[in-house]
């Protein structure tokens, strides 16, 4: 009797809560280190990015105005979903070249990091808010608000924990994001979109593209409706380009270089603060 043929997964993009193929119709052949498996990955285009920014901008109002408690629960839910799909990520991480032990560790860490930021989603406001004792008859207070739409270039080396480590603080702060997945190891970044999709994260809050970093970095950093860009990597030419293009509309450029995302010191509330704005309100206290 013939052995059953398995069903292979098509890796697509994640834009506006949907899984489209790239509008460009292009693909990148991805082969695992053992040269046993080959997968066609979408080679995302500038147009895909622009579409994703439109989706992220549309989602911003809803996501940023959810209650902190609700956002916190949704981040927790992402953690729950990831926990439930461990085996799928195990397979992909191993296929991408991780040892079984390393893969298990990375998944555990990713879940824990989501829970960590889920906990911050309704607390960072208290750490970063103040009542300011002005010498005038006003109740003066400052509090953080999301900066808006963030574009992000995910770390190349650690595909799952890297993605989680930059996306979680951005969305915990109420921003929406378009993220470029690890170019070397894109598989579990796209699978992570499936986790997001089943976690009550509204469409457009997180958009995930795959493709060539060298091709897309220009658009990620120069788009005029993006408020901040998070860049992960050590390439000095890329950093310079990102920071130069950020000047076009005074984007906040945030660069994470030489980070070991497996290390606990890469998680803290100041990383949420990096994509927040402080608003100060003067409210009258006398009539």
């Amino acid at each position: 009797m013939k052995k059953r043929e398995d069903i292979k997964k098509t890796y697509k993009l994640y834009i506006g809560g949907k899984f489209p193929r790239t509008e460009s119709g292009r693909y990148i052949k991805w082969t695992d280190p053992k040269k046993a498996t080959t997968v066609n990955i979408c080679r995302g285009s500038r147009k895909d990015f622009r579409n994703a920014v439109v989706a992220a901008r549309e989602a911003f109002c809803g996501w940023s105005s959810r209650t902190a408690y609700n956002r916190s629960q949704i981040l927790y839910r992402i953690g729950e979903m990831l926990e439930g799909r461990r085996s799928q990520f195990m397979d992909e991480l191993i296929l991408q070249g991780s040892s079984k032990k390393a893969a298990e560790k990375e998944i555990n860490l990713s879940i824990d990091r989501l829970i960590y930021y889920a906990g911050w989603a309704d607390k960072y406001q208290q750490i970063f808010s103040r009542v300011n004792p002005v010498a005038l008859p006003y109740f003066n207070f400052s509090y953080p608000e999301p900066t808006g739409v963030v574009s992000a270039i995910a770390p190349n080396e650690s595909s799952l924990i890297g993605l989680v480590s930059i996306v979680a603080p951005i969305i915990a702060g109420g921003n929406t994001v378009v993220v470029l997945a690890s170019e070397e190891n894109p598989l579990c970044s796209i699978t992570f979109a499936e986790v997001l999709h089943t976690s009550d994260v509204s469409g457009g809050v997180v958009n995930i593209l795959t493709g060539h970093r060298s091709e897309l970095i220009e658009q990620f950093s120069s788009h005029m409706d993006v408020n901040a860009i998070v860049y992960c990597g050590n390439e000095s030419e890329e950093i310079k380009l990102v920071q130069e293009n950020a000047a076009l509309n005074v984007k906040r450029p945030i660069v994470y270089s030489n980070e070991n995302w497996h290390n606990k010191n890469t998680q803290d509330p100041y990383r949420i603060l990096n994509t927040l704005e402080i608003k100060t309100t003067w409210h009258p206290v006398s009539i």
Binding site: I127, R130, N140, S142, E237, L241, T280, T281, W282
Partner: protein, 489 residues
């Protein structure tokens, strides 16, 4: 509506006798050298430029122009002071020096106010009651932070960054110097400050105070010059941080030039604030606030309320009252204590204002100006209001930085929020209403760094200031104001 109201038609026609602030106690050195390493020294190339009183175009003094080599000298002095003295000093002692500066400014406040008014053109009422008191308050506030930084950032240690290059504008010369210097010193950094080329004098007086306060040489260095000097400072390889207040265009150039250098920077850039007045507001109070919002300091204010949104039901009343109030503003000698609106800071700025007013008229907006008599000498512009303005008009979208208000009307809360946010800037905004909840709702929805409820243009050293979007990044003032000057480890 639309009819110009003459002074003679106003119910009251009180004229004020001049009440001039005396200048005989003020000493302005004829030559102002560079302040580097605790000493006043001439520039290497020996170039000087003049600074004038914009109210009468008379020369006040000569000021040394710093070129690249002078900048380098100043940065070296700051580096030496940082390495050898300032970063090693017991923070409590550091604080005492800053307190001392605050006290010395209080003691010499009137002198500073008069010079600020002479050099910049702002009414003495403002420099005396707002600028200079806030300067000393700012130093006083940050002095106390010096030995308390471990309480400011939970879970992290705050370390100084190093040498800060600071470039400030001409609209609040000494106040901007204080905003920059005070937090930098409190956190253990040393400073090279470049004031604007049209208003260098109060910063040079501050240099005297820094000497008097016995601050270790090189901790604060003050050099003058125009954009070239600023550029040399920005591009100097041994600067760790740039703090800039000025136009969005220059801010973008600085961002570009800093790209890839690893230097830190904060930018406080342009604005085009929406001042929103709802039908349930106390109308007379709001009218005063709108007038203050746009005409304060001749409108040379990055957070000026230069866009007014009036709810349709009260638009006729508000606009008519605004015109009346505008007509009664006293425009003239900045040293006169009665003066509401002083001189435009420079010829260049005056030309820019005139250009925008022409654009406004060309684009079809209706213009209303005060019939006040403007002095013959000096740079002056009559307070101006535009109605019949649309969202796409340049006078509604671009920063004019002068006494020019553009007015639009609205019907609903949603509409006005959309209109107010339809701009690349996001520095400040104002909401006028009788309902507290409306202040909270609207100020939450406006994408700006500072929101004033039933007031406008209020400042305090404890209150963070800074913009969203193209109005800059980073905050000055309050605990947030420490952040740009520390590395968190």
């Amino acid at each position: 509506m639309g009819k110009k109201i003459k002074k003679s038609e106003l119910k009251t026609d009180w004229s004020y006798s001049p009440a001039l602030e005396s200048t005989d106690h003020v000493r302005i050195p004829a030559i102002n050298d560079l302040f580097i390493d605790g000493k006043f020294i001439p520039p290497i190339k020996g170039n000087y430029f003049k600074t004038i009183n914009p109210a009468n175009e008379e020369k006040l003094a000569d000021v040394a122009e710093a070129d690249n080599k002078d900048v380098d000298k100043a940065v070296k002095a700051a580096r030496k002071a940082y390495n050898n003295v300032w970063s090693k000093m017991d923070p409590a002692e550091r604080g005492k020096y800053i307190y001392r500066i605050a006290r010395l400014i209080q003691e010499r406040a009137r002198e500073f106010s008069v010079i600020e008014t002479m050099d910049g053109g702002k009414p003495i009422r403002e420099s005396r009651d707002i600028d200079i008191p806030l300067v000393s308050a700012h130093f006083f506030y940050y002095a106390g932070w010096a030995d308390k930084l471990e309480y400011a950032f939970p879970g992290k240690m705050a370390k100084p960054i190093g040498v800060a290059g600071q470039i400030i504008p001409w609209n609040f010369p000494l106040l901007m110097a204080a905003w920059k210097i005070a937090p930098a010193l409190a956190t253990g950094n040393t400073v090279v400050l470049k004031p604007a080329e049209t208003t260098p004098l109060t910063a040079m007086k501050l240099a005297e105070i820094i000497q008097e306060a016995d601050l270790p040489p090189g901790v604060v260095n003050i050099i003058n010059g125009d954009g070239k000097t600023g550029r040399a400072l920005v591009e100097h390889p041994d600067i760790n941080k740039i703090a800039f207040t000025g136009s969005t265009d220059v801010g973008k150039l600085i961002m570009k030039s800093m790209a890839g250098t690893g230097k830190r920077y904060t930018l406080e850039l342009g604005g085009k604030a929406a001042n929103i007045i709802f039908e349930d507001a106390a109308i007379d109070q709001a009218v005063e606030g709108i007038i203050d919002g746009i005409f304060f300091n001749q409108g040379h204010v990055c957070c000026a309320g230069s866009r007014l949104f009036v709810q349709e039901s009260v638009a006729d009343t508000v606009i008519s009252k605004l015109k009346d109030r505008m007509e009664s503003l006293i425009v003239g000698d900045p040293l006169d204590k009665n003066t509401d609106i002083g001189a435009i800071n420079s010829k260049m700025q005056l030309d820019k204002i005139k250009m925008y007013v022409k654009i406004g008229q060309k684009e079809g907006a209706s213009i209303h100006q005060s019939s006040c008599k403007l002095p013959k000498k000096g740079y002056w512009y009559a307070p101006t209001i535009f109605t019949d303005v649309s969202q796409s008009h340049r006078i509604m979208q671009e920063e004019i930085f002068g006494p020019v208000l553009a007015i639009q009307t609205f019907r609903t809360v949603d509409e006005v929020i959309t209109k107010a946010n339809n701009i690349p800037f996001g520095l400040s905004g104002g909401v006028w209403t009788d309902k507290g909840a409306k202040i909270f709702q609207v100020s939450k929805a406006i994408r700006s760094g500072v929101l004033w409820g039933n007031t406008f243009n209020k400042f305090d050293p404890t209150s963070p200031f800074g913009g969203y979007k193209e109005s800059g990044m980073g905050r000055e003032g309050g605990l947030e104001g420490l952040m740009p000057y520390v590395n968190l480890v």
